[in-house]
């Protein structure tokens, strides 16, 4: 039943656009008319040794795309479509695919491997194609090298595609045996060994049981370590990748091997080619990640319990590890700071050194200081840069007591290097190091300040001067200023930056106008620093912040003037508008926070809103996220007066809510609906139909990113609280959405991420209930809520019994109990008394250490006692 597709596929790769388009259309048509025949034909093409290699490859690719897609909902559709496909067709396709694995044409084999993995990814979880792994492995030893390589590659893709729980241990054992044997030094064929090593990388997640068995683990580790010594560089690299993966997946099993691994990695770092050396360094970075996590868990938990003990590998390796990493610092590339995508051994080594410092703290300092002293003033820029980088790297981790004496000595030197060093690379790193000094050792957390009145002036002068340097240096100088300002946050009514405020703002604005501000993200850094300077400003400089408003407005106005932009220009315009809207948002939030400045600021509100609306109008289908965020801040500052902007603004609000693709935009817009509800209160009623319809639609969509759903529920609460009994219109729909979400979120089964998500979902649901109850309070329609009360109490019982609520949910939940009692009064009294755990829950919250929980609980207690006593 297969059809001839060769010519169409050839045409689909034609350089003639019209021919190509025609071919693509006919492929599409074919697929729509008869999917089974289409897919069988493609697999036939792929398997046919007489066909040209490019059509075979393309046939495989089209087949693969018929099985998988990036978007979750599309992927789901494709999976369903494959599962319901005619069984005969599926068998034919699979047979073709397996045959292709033995093809002499390497591209055909490789394509078939990937397609087989996709089919397995769909079928294995449904207990279909059970014979696959058996048939792949049945004669792996007798196969010619090419087929063996393809089989191992297929196993690798397969492990990447399916989750470990769908393959039983017996089959896992077989896969691992084949893979590890293929990796061993006895395997003479390089391609086979490489394929096996890469396959192991994906299969490691399946090897839990095998890593618990000493003999098997020893064997796997020996083979991996041997592979790091292979004469073939790609195998060495792949083997180190395996070690990196093992370091995070099986950290607690590494103790017996760590000494050997150190020797192997040290040799690779010093002598091997860069791709290999980078992976060897990454092994130690990854161990640092593990130990930092474990130690953080120790620190956060008074019992000192952790699932995994810390083996202090880094601490033990320290005397050898640190010198090795310091050596790498001297291997910089020229101009690496101008290249955004650069990643080399010096960068990896420095990054690892920073992680080591965070892992061991004070112990690293004496090991690094001699290196700094030795190299910091050398004529070779590499030595000066390396010394500076080493210093910057160890500023996070060790205690301030240990670091401050060093910093006090180094600060003057650094400031002088930033202005005088002839090498741009050194200046870049020096500015970065100053930023790290201010980030970690300046501010209210440190007892003895490193910045005094005496050197503050000098620091600012140097930083402002450096902002005129090359873009990469200027960007780092902005970063340093960012942290300098941050350290003065919450310093009280008077900030040491006040005398320089005007000059700093002026310099930053000048930077944003530099012709080369597009390089090294300099313009972004300048605006971000301006934002932080505004955030950390005090009342003293409020008049200056106010003066900034018309300046930024003018900048934003200027972006709106350009006509007929190319797509490249349009993107730049949009980015700049984002920065300016972000800046205005920060200013609005700052000035809106105190009454006198808000009052003065309000004179600009109409104009600013006008600009935001024009920013929206620049685009046809999407909404500008930063403008939306800024409007939220404006709505909060404006209050009920915001109503006058609604007729024009509403369409963009709706557009934002419909933006599923950029879910961040959707989430931000949902938040703004909340801001507007609180600002407008009942004046939001005319827009509620549209908003509620869209929100309910969003909830029922499987295309919308799940992280947007909890805020949508909270937003129900915001609206209900704003409009009161008018919410009746939506009550049934909202409650039914809440109810089904509540059922889903009562129990959590899954990893930490899912627990966190479920708690945020619970919180959203509970905030919705709170808003609805308080909104209906004292209205004649209160009784409409009575039928929902039993389910809500059941939900509260449910999550209380699960014992996995976080503090935020606990606070919201006990508040809901109070709101329910408060609004329903005597109707609620008996229900609450009968509920399984309300009383225990209340008592637990009343004795909570968390004041927010306690406060909510006091309220609930009051409301319940009244409900019961009526």
């Amino acid at each position: 039943m297969a059809m001839e597709v060769t010519q169409v596929l050839l045409n689909a790769q034609s350089i003639d656009g019209a021919v190509r388009k025609n071919a693509e259309d006919s492929l599409k048509q074919f697929q729509e008319q008869n999917l089974p025949v289409f897919l069988v034909s493609l697999s036939g093409e792929l398997a046919n040794e007489e066909k040209p290699v490019e059509t075979r490859k393309l046939a495989g690719l089209v087949l693969k795309n018929a099985l998988d897609a990036k978007e979750q909902h599309r992927k789901f559709e494709l999976v369903q479509r494959w599962l319901s496909l005619d069984g005969n067709a599926k068998s034919q396709i699979k047979a073709c695919l397996l045959t292709t694995l033995t093809s002499p044409v390497s591209d055909a084999r490789s394509t078939a491997s990937q397609v087989i993995a996709k089919v397995a990814g769909i079928e294995l979880p449904h207990k279909q194609w059970p014979e696959l792994i058996g048939s792949l492995l049945s004669n792996v030893h007798q196969l010619p090298a090419q087929a063996k390589q393809a089989t191992l590659e297929t196993l690798g893709y397969l492990c990447e595609e399916v989750s470990p729980d769908v393959i039983d241990q017996d089959q896992v054992n077989k896969i691992l045996t084949a893979v590890v044997q293929g990796m061993s030094s006895s395997e003479g064929n390089t391609d086979v060994r490489l394929a096996a090593t890469r396959a192991l990388y994906n299969a490691l997640g399946f090897a839990q049981a095998n890593f618990s068995n000493d003999m098997e683990r020893d064997y796997i580790m020996r083979v991996v370590c041997e592979a790091t010594l292979s004469p073939e560089v790609r195998i060495r690299q792949a083997a180190f990748e395996c070690l990196v993966s093992i370091s995070s997946t099986y950290y607690e099993k590494l103790a017996p091997y760590i000494q050997d691994i150190f020797n192997i990695t040290a040799k690779a770092v010093r002598e091997d080619e860069e791709p290999v050396a980078l992976q060897a360094i990454e092994f130690w970075s990854s161990i640092c990640d593990e130990e930092i996590d474990i130690l953080e868990e120790y620190g956060g938990d008074f019992t000192g319990d952790s699932d995994i003990p810390c083996f202090y590998f880094i601490k033990q390796a320290l005397p050898a590890l640190v010198p090795m990493l310091l050596e790498t610092l001297l291997k910089q590339e020229e101009d690496q700071d101008q290249d955004e995508g650069a990643w080399n051994i010096a960068m990896a080594g420095g990054t690892c050194l920073g992680l080591v410092a965070r892992t061991v703290g004070d112990d690293i300092v004496p090991l690094v200081v001699p290196f700094i002293e030795e190299n910091i003033s050398k004529p070779d820029w590499r030595q000066r840069e390396a010394a500076t980088y080493a210093f910057g790297s160890i500023l996070e981790g060790p205690s301030p007591e240990k670091l401050i004496p060093l910093v006090n000595v180094a600060l003057t030197f650094m400031l002088s290097a930033l202005t005088k060093d002839p090498n741009s690379h050194v200046k870049d790193t020096t500015a970065w190091t100053l930023g790290r000094i201010f980030e970690f050792l300046h501010g209210s957390v440190v007892d003895s300040p490193i910045i005094s009145q005496a050197n503050c002036q000098q620091i600012i002068t140097v930083l402002l001067q450096s902002m005129k340097d090359t873009p990469n240096v200027a960007e780092k100088a902005c970063g340093a200023l960012y942290f300098l300002a941050q350290g003065y946050e919450e310093m009280g009514p008077s900030s040491p930056l006040t005398p320089f405020f005007q000059e700093i703002v002026q310099s930053l604005l000048t930077v944003t106008h530099r012709e080369d501000a597009g390089e090294s993200r300099l313009r972004t850094a300048a605006y971000e620093t301006l934002n932080e300077v505004v955030r950390c400003s005090t009342d003293e400089t409020a008049p200056l912040v106010l003066q900034l408003v018309p300046v930024i407005m003018m900048e934003l106005h200027n972006t709106l003037e350009g006509q007929k932009l190319s797509s490249d220009e349009r993107e730049k315009q949009s980015e700049l508008q984002g920065l300016l809207c972000g800046c205005l948002q920060v200013i609005i939030q700052k000035l809106g926070a105190s009454e006198p400045t808000k009052y003065v600021f309000m004179q600009y509100a109409d104009q600013i809103m006008g600009l935001f609306l024009r920013v929206f109008a620049c685009r046809s289908a999407t909404v500008h996220e930063e403008a939306m965020l800024a409007i939220g801040a404006l709505a909060y500052a404006t209050g009920a007066d915001f109503a006058k902007y609604m007729p024009e603004f509403y369409r963009y609000l709706e557009m934002g809510l419909q933006n599923f693709e950029e879910y961040q935009v959707c989430a931000v817009t949902v938040g703004v609906v909340g801001d507007i509800s609180r600002a407008l209160e009942e004046k939001i009623v005319p827009y509620c139909d549209g908003i509620m319809t869209q929100l309910l639609k969003n909830l029922s969509s499987n295309q919308l990113h799940r992280s947007v759903k909890p805020p949508i529920f909270s937003c129900f609460g915001d609206i209900a609280l704003a409009v009161g009994e008018y919410f009746e219109k939506y009550l049934m729909w909202a409650m039914s959405a809440l109810q089904s979400a509540a059922e889903l979120s009562t129990h959590i089964a899954g990893d930490d991420e899912l627990v966190e998500y479920t708690n945020s979902l619970r919180n959203g649901i509970l905030e919705a209930y709170s808003g609805i109850f308080q909104g209906f309070k004292n209205s004649p329609k209160t009784q409409l809520l009575i039928p929902y009360a039993p389910h809500i109490l059941q939900f509260l019982d449910g999550i209380y019994m699960e014992k996995d609520m976080d503090d935020v949910v606990m606070k919201t939940a006990i508040g809901v109990l109070g709101d329910l009692a408060d609004t329903l009064g005597s109707h609620a009294g008996s229900m609450i008394q009968q509920s399984v755990s309300s009383k225990d829950f209340l008592n637990e919250c009343l004795s909570s250490e968390d004041l927010m929980i306690k406060e909510s609980a006091e309220w609930a207690k009051l409301a319940i006692s009244r409900a019961i006593s009526v």
Binding site: G671, D718, Q774, S865, S869
Partner: protein
Amino acid sequence: MAPHDNRRPFKRAAISDQQKRRELSLLRQAQNRRDAQQQARCLASSILSLQSAAPESQPEQSDIELETVPEAEQESEAFSKDLDVRQASKLRGPEVRKWFARQLMLPEWMIDVPDRLAQDWYVFARPAGKRCFVVSSNGTTVSRQRNGSILHHFPSALPAGAKIRDGSGSAQSYCILDCIFHELDQTYYVIDMVCWNGYSLYDCTAEFRFYWLNSKLEESGACNAPSHYHKFRFSAVPVYNCDQSGLHAAYTGVVPYAKDGLLFYNKHALYQTGNTPLALVWKDENCSQFVIDTDGKGEIPSQQQVVLELQDDRKLVTSDDPPVLFGCLDGDIIEKSGLHTGNLLRFAIGDGGLSFVDGKLEKADLIYLGKSNRARAFADSYSKVLFQFMVRHSPLKIDDLLASINSANDQEKTPSDIEMVG
């Protein structure tokens, strides 16, 4: 299978400013949502308290059935005493005076040292000045003294305390602060917080109220220097745990105000209107200019003077609940001076002094002086009379307080003090 790229961020802050803006927005929205929620809840409470306050003028009904949650009974009763500013503003004349006078928590005088002083009590230096209630609502702020008279009427930075063009300010929001107005620096020293931004703190422990006071007052801007919309500065007083060092700090520490004794607050006590033994005042010459009561001319009379209330059976009693009997007044004095039940009368304590049997007052040597000042709303309390009596005869000294904290420490160290239960 391509090699895996493990590059990490280089010379980059872990978080972008845009992400920071998003997070700060979310934080602000969460805070605003909380405030809106809170306001809705408080609006509800004040309306409810109005309903339950109505039958209060009739004899108290105590037959509410509350079998299931007995501890809730006290709660709801305490709550029914909750004051509603809008309701109170309708009261006139003496009604106002009585009503306001009833709303303040009045400390008893310390006549012996309470147990567990170091564990359960706070101490702070009481500012000398006019004790008053400061109420902000509807865009204005009013301070009323204990006798209900208005001290100031002014705009303030307290929530709802000034008329500022601000759409978001709700008419329902209000604050009630327990303050002492200190003339010298024209500052309201806040010694307790009763309601904040519409949220009632009556039913909260002192521990919570002080925490709330310290975090909210500063935040509101009420501690800022006076300005057009903020006529008087407010300030919190430093409150210490009443351990050795805390007591020492309160007693000797330098404060910006003139001290008038020390106040002791039990950490677990709710804000209870009227006299309470869970708040105590104590003073000596080092921490107060007014240890011994003065007369109308500001001079210390040679004999201790007391104000007592005349009851219908000629009995002379204190303002305590229940009242403590000090003696009976001769019928002919009542006739001659035209006295009525409920009059507040001034007496001197004669050389006979006060006599006690088993720690209870048995006899007082009272000499009638005349009616008390009209501004007085209450008779003296028992503890005040006794404290004044002790000051003149055998005062409770700061060393006694310190010694009691020390001995409590010692006791805790003594293993033999463990209570046996087996």
